[in-house]
Symmetry: D2
Subunit: 304 residues, 4 copies
Amino acid sequence: MDYQLILEEIYEEIKPYLALGKVADYIPELKKVSPDNFAMVLQTADGEISKVGDFNTKFSIQSISKLFTLTLALQFEDKRLWQRVGREPSGNPFNSLVQLEYEKGIPRNPFINAGALVITDIILSRVGDAKKAIIDYLRLLSGNSSIKHDPKVYASEKKTGYLNKSIANYLKSFNNLDNQPSGVLDVYFYQCSISMNCIDLSNACSYLVHSGYSPLTKEAVSTTRQTKYLNSLLLTCGTYDAVGDFAYRVGLPGKSGVGGGIIAVLPGQFNIAVWSPGLNDNGNSLAGVKALEMFTTITGKSIF
Amino acid sequence: MDYQLILEEIYEEIKPYLALGKVADYIPELKKVSPDNFAMVLQTADGEISKVGDFNTKFSIQSISKLFTLTLALQFEDKRLWQRVGREPSGNPFNSLVQLEYEKGIPRNPFINAGALVITDIILSRVGDAKKAIIDYLRLLSGNSSIKHDPKVYASEKKTGYLNKSIANYLKSFNNLDNQPSGVLDVYFYQCSISMNCIDLSNACSYLVHSGYSPLTKEAVSTTRQTKYLNSLLLTCGTYDAVGDFAYRVGLPGKSGVGGGIIAVLPGQFNIAVWSPGLNDNGNSLAGVKALEMFTTITGKSIF
Amino acid sequence: MDYQLILEEIYEEIKPYLALGKVADYIPELKKVSPDNFAMVLQTADGEISKVGDFNTKFSIQSISKLFTLTLALQFEDKRLWQRVGREPSGNPFNSLVQLEYEKGIPRNPFINAGALVITDIILSRVGDAKKAIIDYLRLLSGNSSIKHDPKVYASEKKTGYLNKSIANYLKSFNNLDNQPSGVLDVYFYQCSISMNCIDLSNACSYLVHSGYSPLTKEAVSTTRQTKYLNSLLLTCGTYDAVGDFAYRVGLPGKSGVGGGIIAVLPGQFNIAVWSPGLNDNGNSLAGVKALEMFTTITGKSIF
Amino acid sequence: MDYQLILEEIYEEIKPYLALGKVADYIPELKKVSPDNFAMVLQTADGEISKVGDFNTKFSIQSISKLFTLTLALQFEDKRLWQRVGREPSGNPFNSLVQLEYEKGIPRNPFINAGALVITDIILSRVGDAKKAIIDYLRLLSGNSSIKHDPKVYASEKKTGYLNKSIANYLKSFNNLDNQPSGVLDVYFYQCSISMNCIDLSNACSYLVHSGYSPLTKEAVSTTRQTKYLNSLLLTCGTYDAVGDFAYRVGLPGKSGVGGGIIAVLPGQFNIAVWSPGLNDNGNSLAGVKALEMFTTITGKSIF
């Protein structure tokens, strides 16, 4: 299949959709990004890369960081981690507190904010400098040592992230954080503010295509079993309260962020990084989801 | 791969698990079934069948019927159907009323009881004799014209199914049933009480392997697009509030029933029907899920 | 204090409010009543009666019947009754199912529909003919042997009362009904469809003014202790999810019905029956609540 | 009635109940208080005081402070305040976040923690030094200029009050706090840590007996209308999720705190301050509620 051609076709057809999304405004710094941006990068298992649009432009990875911190935390603890976080779709928005109250402080999965905070707490307890550990990890996985966080986005979230502060303190009240909420939040805001472009993201996710092995680092990032688990979690929990819709329309495991990025994977075959800042009602990139849907419809390639 | 050998290996190893499950007791008639039963049937895309255990023993398909009624209803209406039922995992038990109240009578998906009742209502509105239409459909799909419902199970549910009666009346109070609740419930109890064995089930599900085409009927049961959708719905919503766990451990789209049956699919490759009446806490067959997990672990074959 | 004069003053001032309410439309038969109706009857502890408006016009007592069935059921069982129904305000609409699910089928209090159905179930288990027992009880309490139910309202609710059917079946699924849901519902729809006028209602509630003693029957309807309990329940649970607002504005224990009637009590001093069919958003008579608020503001007489 | 004699009788009978309660342990400093403490002070409208037990021992007033801050805030704004806080019983524990999510950041009433934080926010916006304003207010109302906060309890809550921190940040995320959460929490922890004895409390609450007039300050603390409102709020919302039970058993408007204090009022006649640190399951003083129940049973004096 000529993936480059297909991506170019999608790039043509996606343009009317760019204006339909709404750039995230709850983090003041994010709403400065133009909704006209669009990038799509596909990388096959052989390492062949196809790409269209603004694939060199960095953007805030936001919740996509949750995938990488989970992968990192699984190196430190595997079984114990799942005593503190569940593995079920939440059926609720990513920032809901309702379920957390009924389920006594055990977040439904590592991809809602509450779950991701617990994962960050685990990393914080294991390494001296959690921020450095996370940024180093992303540089290693992506093979790009120039990756940085965006200090303005970081400061913006740190100042206005009341809901995340509420969630972290709530977790602590249930004794499901080992560290102080302020320390966990500081790392969490940092990881969300990391900037990457679609090529970086695609490289960083190669291990999900290769059963855990990274062609870049020439090492296993996760075990075969863990990689299968990660992909299943992406499918059932990776796109907020729209996992059913995403599975239905796209049919690939994926993780989205409110910066407009999405990473999707067909295990054994390829991954796709897509970016467009305008969001749909569920907080997923509107044009990004549409582009992925076009792709799996045209190629017939999905897990289903 | 020698699937017959693998199934026999699993059959050996599964025995200690048979006693761990708990046979459904909320339908009086169901608890009479012995927990020692176990059957597993795998059918490849080529039609090759491997099988172990009590594969000729019929059991109550219960919620597995929801898959077939949905497939049937999609022939009558596609877009409109999704205005009355959602496509998201519920994150709640299959019989919860909470979500239905908050979401004004629109069930989360067609595989929780409320959603399945709406699907049955659609069929009832479209055909003269819905019971006959459903049993005929299953006979056609499975190629077994002797398939019947179990009058005792039917009578048992009809007498004691207060929760389903509550749900049906609740849907009606939101105007999300066109027919009278009692009429819808009558068909629903009937479809749940249909008895099939694992070979019947595997045959009936061939269309999910073949993008909608049934080798038995030599016709398309569903379109390619619909089949992709059905498989994605099975993955995100098919196993009650354990979809995350099922995706994580088994990694295949699947539908379970409280009779202890499960049907699982690897699109393009095979489907597996498994049966064991003892259930785990989520209402899925304990040994059935375990057997499927063993299978995907041994073969490495899953969608992830 | 010249209560007759005060009531006449209120009658003048209430007119603009009559048009603001909305006659209940979920029971088809009820919406036929004109919103212009208004009646107010005050009866002091001495038996002196003041009255204005349509005090001879009968209307559907609806939920006010819950007060009388509770009083009747307390004669049969006192302690045991409170194991099946709570005594706390629900904080939710009168017909919510959410709380019932979280609290495993124990209704919050006897004045939400679920709780009232349990009370009716208790009566049904204790007497041969529950409908006759209830109507006889109301004739006795009010001293008016011509009180009847309205067959049209009864038939209307019986046909369309899907939400109540849902609730009754839900209670049964938790084993919190001893009788069949259909039997309990039949009595419940009957009791709600009883028609009384404001004079009847005021007479029927004299026992709440006199610590349980009825000047009409010359007997104790409830014990002193029970009467104190009934009045406290009226205050904390008698006006749906507007108990705070009613206590705040009116400051009297009271019970409302969607027929537009309200009965309010100042223990030891008087009771007031008021009727106006237009309802506010909480399902309480808009002009009725306003008239009671005017009364307690003018007279300074409330429990607070 | 000889109230002193009645209080002494209660003091005798209450002893077996002291051991049944559980001293609050979620604030580390509070659990150091001995459960043997008991005090009861009754003050009539005429200023006659009856008292038994440890009535000179100061204790942490905790949530009772919410009554006084509400009274103070009503001086600053009346109508506007009720746009930010409701007046309905919550039907949930005092620290629940569920309702706040469903109701978009508007707390149900000023006596649950979320509502009290909004009230404190109002005071903070209106006065230069909110801590000083509150302690001065309590000294004025009680006529005891030596009233202080307990620095250990204050520090203890400030360190461990994660749930309150979560609630304050949650309110802020809904824009229902004007000030920073940390500033509001600082004042809130301070007000909760104020120590008073039962005589102080009884004096401070005289205005609730006298329609707002304080015999101590010779001035109106609240208007007649506001006082009626305050008493109704105490009844419907003052004792956490046990308001129904408290109204049922005691039958007086009241406010409790987890320090074991309760203040109860019979408007126009008397108020009672009672203290015993052992709590029941709802967070109300076990012996305190029992003593009040004994009192209203013996005297027959309640609002019902």
